[in-house]
Amino acid sequence: MARRIIHLTMLLLTLALLVHAQETKPQQPAQGANPPAPPKTHLKVGQTAPDFTLTDTTGKAVKLSDFKGQKNVVLAFYVLAFTGG
């Protein structure tokens, strides 16, 4: 009888450990999960570039539409100064 009680206790203990292990299993990220993609512009070739006014390094205001009829413009959005972009 005592032997059966010991066996039953061990079985219950094993089950309890299994349940505990299942509950405490760390959540791992899904395999192949990628970081969120950077935003993509909604603008398309052929559309008018949105106008803006920004200041240059001397404090002078530069307006995109001021170049209209004068010059072609390359707008390079360079995210962080002193980095490789």
């Binding site: 390094t57 404090g59 707008l75 959005f77």
Partner: protein, 84 residues
């Protein structure tokens, strides 16, 4: 996105011959659809705009770091010049 003083120092360091503009309030990157609202940073992109204000070429992400695409887009303007 950088301040004008930071851009000024950066422009001196790398010796640029074109204006470096500061979009400190992140309005322009938002208008151009480049702002990541979660991180507050903008994506890298290059737009070629003709004299009429029309977008002629867009390079985004890694391809925007390589100026080849924008350079080739600009070469189209040269071909449009009337023969002397």
């Amino acid at each position: 996105m950088d301040s004008s003083p930071a851009n000024r120092r950066f422009a001196e360091d790398i010796g640029v011959s074109f204006p470096l503009l500061s979009d400190w309030k992140r309005k322009v990157v938002k208008d151009y659809g480049l702002l990541d609202e979660n991180t507050g940073y903008a994506a890298r992109a290059t737009f070629v705009v003709d004299k009429e204000g029309i977008i002629k070429n867009i390079e985004e992400g890694r391809t925007a770091i390589d100026p080849t695409g924008a350079y080739q887009a600009c070469s189209v303007f040269d071909k449009k010049k009337p023969a002397p």
